[in-house]
Symmetry: C2
Subunit: 553 residues, 2 copies
């Protein structure tokens, strides 16, 4: 066996194909700069049928001009594309499928397009490779889903093609690195081309073409929650989380999911938590987007460090003015990085807390509903026990002790918490015998029901009825009754075994607000450190600049 | 509650401290370039007592000149440092502790310094924060262990401070990003300063100072295994892995630990596996350093893609000549990236296989031994079920089905395999009643015994006696007997319950070579695609250039 036994093989097919593509496109650009009106022929010159293409977009920044331009290409030339990207959130992403240009997708989240996507799957117009979490999809970029062409978005470029992505750096480094270092092609849309960038986020070496888009790339203010909409039940659940969980375990490093439930917790830190003497003892280090509702806690000195997946519209001046807290460059503006922040959420946080639509009696939870293929973004990565973790912390060690019963080898465990009201909108119960995910799996022909967080990874459930500590349950029956025991007046909660639930309460597996010294009558909106978006602006010293839709003054 | 209630607080202490440090050092540099003979005063000007410092180094590239220079600084000025870095592998790292300059360490691996480190811990000269896996430590860089000063190593710099890290990019992007975007200071040692770099791996914006080291940075050829040393028992175990495991599950995406056991598997792919018709069906996509022993499989067209944590000495020309396989830049040379490759190993691979020193009867394994504090590098990250994973593959789905017994919610599982001879060097048994890790934890005052791979995550054990499939075991007793049943003539293996072991074999939980149609007499070194380093050079068409210590011709 040696090399000469093997027929002659070329080892640079990717590089030669790349050269051929660049040669076809050469006349459309001057250097690396492409005029906006030549972007459609450029894409037609650079992309080939069957290519894996990443159109950058996540739940915030979108390469929307490049997506719109791709929809204008000739469908007889650019076809059978395989999209490999974080989100399918723009109508144009789905248009590409309907036009027959995209035949396969691997992604993480489809949010607003979930219903359209489900219909296309049902009519067999598209094959879904898989639905990932963000870090998992980035990981596959380096193994078996490397993009051939990446269409990315940046704030600005210089004339050499260096890019400034600033606060919304997000997915860009991961996408570009995988593409450019495997002979792929990188095209960036930018809001402006300048002589000198504030800083270089992506070196020009890694970028093939730059186009100034007619309009700035779209950014979704996804992490803004108006404190005015936080209910007193959410205040109560926030108090339970802080006193019954964060203080108990000494949670310093954490990630919050999006929603009013977690926004309430953030707004209770400088008031309720501070009164409990918890400043410096909980919630000091975060893997979190710059949530406006975190401003009062930051101003109160509660927070030491925040690393972010992405940015948040309107928070640019605030984050720039708080470089001790946020990760910012020498130019003064923030740098986010979704890959590193997901790694931080997975490996460096002791707790993840988020909301869901449904929880079953094993503790499996999902936001999947029939007729919608939405995905879970980053939640499964943060909401899973990180079994490769080896460093200890008091919270992690205690969770491990509680959860391991008679297993001989000690180990820590991540705290993974669902916080839900027992009934959500339209009086839909949050607790169910059977997840809708089963039906979705059947109709969409999925290998497994799309579970966001598995019961095995879930450690606590918080509702307005109290906390269920699933770590302490020793049998599936105890676990089921612990869940029923905080499920309130939902059908699942109504048929609890009351004697067993009382027994669980005696053992501290279920804890009611009164067991924790929390008076429900204290749970008023007055406890919130900000009760409106205007309060947040005030708390920021005028640095937070909320988007128009959040202003009513 | 609003901002005016809070005493005036500065939010730019990091930036101001940085400015003060740079001002102190300004006269020592011209632009960003520092002469080598001024590096000691530069470090004294830039580093302050109590700083978190990262001296770049992993199991390959080492910022050795900067480490040596740090040992020359005044210990009355630079003291109480907290090292936060992948390895403590150089004598200088330990010297810093002995000199009283470093009082706390957080790291991943200490390999050659493990014994010295253990003595320092015993004499209370050093506090260990924790021993991490690489990705876990990088994650903490963005949460609670952000370096204040990073001392890194690159191949070359230009006069603006852009860096070329080339094949040995490794940890650099993760370290630099965390440091520079939190107001820290980055100092790079380079082998040469040039007018024009082959490519930019790290932008000048992110680097404060560059010093040309008197000698090129050290690189350890850690992943080179001489095929001449592979035994026939290792050939047999390799055949078992390929036919009994890789083929059974259809393993396409994988990571191999270091060692002769896995090197044997690599060298059997173009021969034994090809004869079984497995080309294109197994081992196509890898998260792996460029192992020289993978050359014959690559040349045989077995391999489609390899992404690497780091490079390997002597493999530079070979990887550059195989850009379809390896991740390479437009300049033609490879780019590695430990953070992304660890993410790939965790989330995008279906199998991890590696060796260990000890396995207990629950399947917990560890390389920790008394008197040595060594750490595990990346193994725990790759050798753990990735519970945040959501994409399916046939191998992952099958492992999940096998492992979940009566759990109602289906889920996939990663294959995590230990491959060991029942006796290792000096006739030490690989199977033990109790891991030495327990003793080490007691003497070194660790929170938990340092387990490399937990029994809960381990799915299979391969020895010369066959495969134990732990997924199929339904009770702790079955698991114990499955392990004893492949433990050979070790004391643990000798006291197996032979009836139960035969029952496990009948159920396919234990499989002997003959059960898989493998004749032990076929397991000869003739099956290896290369039987010497010289064969590897030949297979590479002369592109592989082994380091001197591996040449005997």
């Amino acid at each position: 066996m040696n090399a000469t036994d093997i027929p002659e093989k070329r080892w640079d097919t990717l590089a030669r194909s790349r050269d051929a593509r660049l040669a076809r496109a050469g006349h459309l650009a001057s250097g690396c700069i492409v005029p906006a009106d030549r972007i459609v022929p450029l894409l037609e010159a650079l992309i080939e049928p069957g290519d894996r293409v990443c159109i950058e977009g996540n739940n915030q920044k979108q390469a929307d001009f490049l997506a719109r331009s791709l929809v204008k290409t000739d469908p007889s030339r650019l076809r059978d594309l395989h999209l490999v990207q974080s989100v399918l959130a723009l109508p144009e992403h789905i248009d590409l499928i309907e036009r027959g240009q995209v035949s396969r997708i691997d992604f993480s989240f489809s949010g607003p397009q979930a219903a359209r996507l489900a219909r296309l799957v049902e009519s067999r117009k598209i094959a879904i490779g898989a639905i990932h979490t963000y870090l998992e999809l980035f990981a596959r970029y380096f193994v078996d889903l490397t993009p051939r062409v990446a269409l990315i978005a940046a704030q600005a470029a210089d004339r050499e093609g260096n890019l400034y992505t600033g606060p919304n750096t997000e997915d860009t480094p991961a996408i570009v690195e995988a593409t450019t270092f495997k002979g792929g092609i990188v095209i960036a849309q930018v809001n402006q081309i300048v002589d000198k960038l504030p800083r270089v986020d992506i070196p020009a070496d890694w970028v093939d073409y730059v186009v100034q888009a007619p309009t700035p790339h779209y950014i979704e203010p996804l992490f803004t929650r108006d404190p005015a909409q936080i209910t007193e039940i959410q205040v109560l659940m926030g108090m339970i989380a802080i006193k019954g969980l964060y203080a108990e375990y000494g949670i310093k490093r954490l990630n919050h999911g999006i929603g009013f439930d977690t926004a309430a917790i953030e707004l209770l830190l400088p008031t309720y938590a501070a009164d409990l003497g918890l400043k410096g003892k909980i919630c000091t280090h975060w893997a979190l987007n710059p949530h406006p509702t975190l401003i009062p806690a930051i101003e109160a000195g509660f927070v030491e460090s925040v690393h972010s997946f992405g940015s948040e519209v309107g928070m640019e001046r605030y984050t720039a003015a708080r470089p001790d807290i946020f990760f910012t460059g020498a130019d003064g503006s923030m740098r986010s990085n979704r890959a590193f922040c997901q790694a931080a959420g997975h490996y460096a946080c002791d707790l993840f807390i988020g909301s869901t639509l449904q929880i079953d009696l094993q503790g499996n939870s999902s936001t999947a509903t029939k007729g919608r293929i939405a995905g879970f973004g980053g939640a499964p990565n943060m909401g899973a026990d990180a079994r490769g973790r080896r460093h200890a912390s008091p919270a992690w060690l205690r969770a491990g002790r509680e959860g391991r019963g008679d297993i001989a080898m000690p180990r820590g465990q991540k705290l993974v918490v669902q916080i839900v009201e027992t009934f959500r909108e339209h009086m839909e119960p949050a607790f169910v015998e059977r997840l809708d995910a089963w039906d979705l799996a059947a109709t969409a022909n999925m290998d497994l029901p799309p579970v966001m967080i598995y019961g095995e990874d879930l450690t606590h459930i918080i509702t307005e009825e109290g906390i269920a500590n699933l770590l302490l349950c020793r049998t599936p029956q105890e676990r089921e009754q612990a869940i029923r025991g905080v499920a309130g007046y939902t059908p699942v909660g109504m048929v609890r075994d009351t004697r067993m639930v009382e027994n669980l309460r005696d053992r501290g597996i279920i804890r009611r607000p009164e067991d924790m010294g929390i008076r429900k009558s204290d749970a008023t909106r007055d406890l919130l450190a900000a009760r409106s978006v205007k309060d947040l602006v005030h708390a920021s010293g005028g640095l937070y600049d909320p988007p128009r839709q959040f202003r009513n003054w």
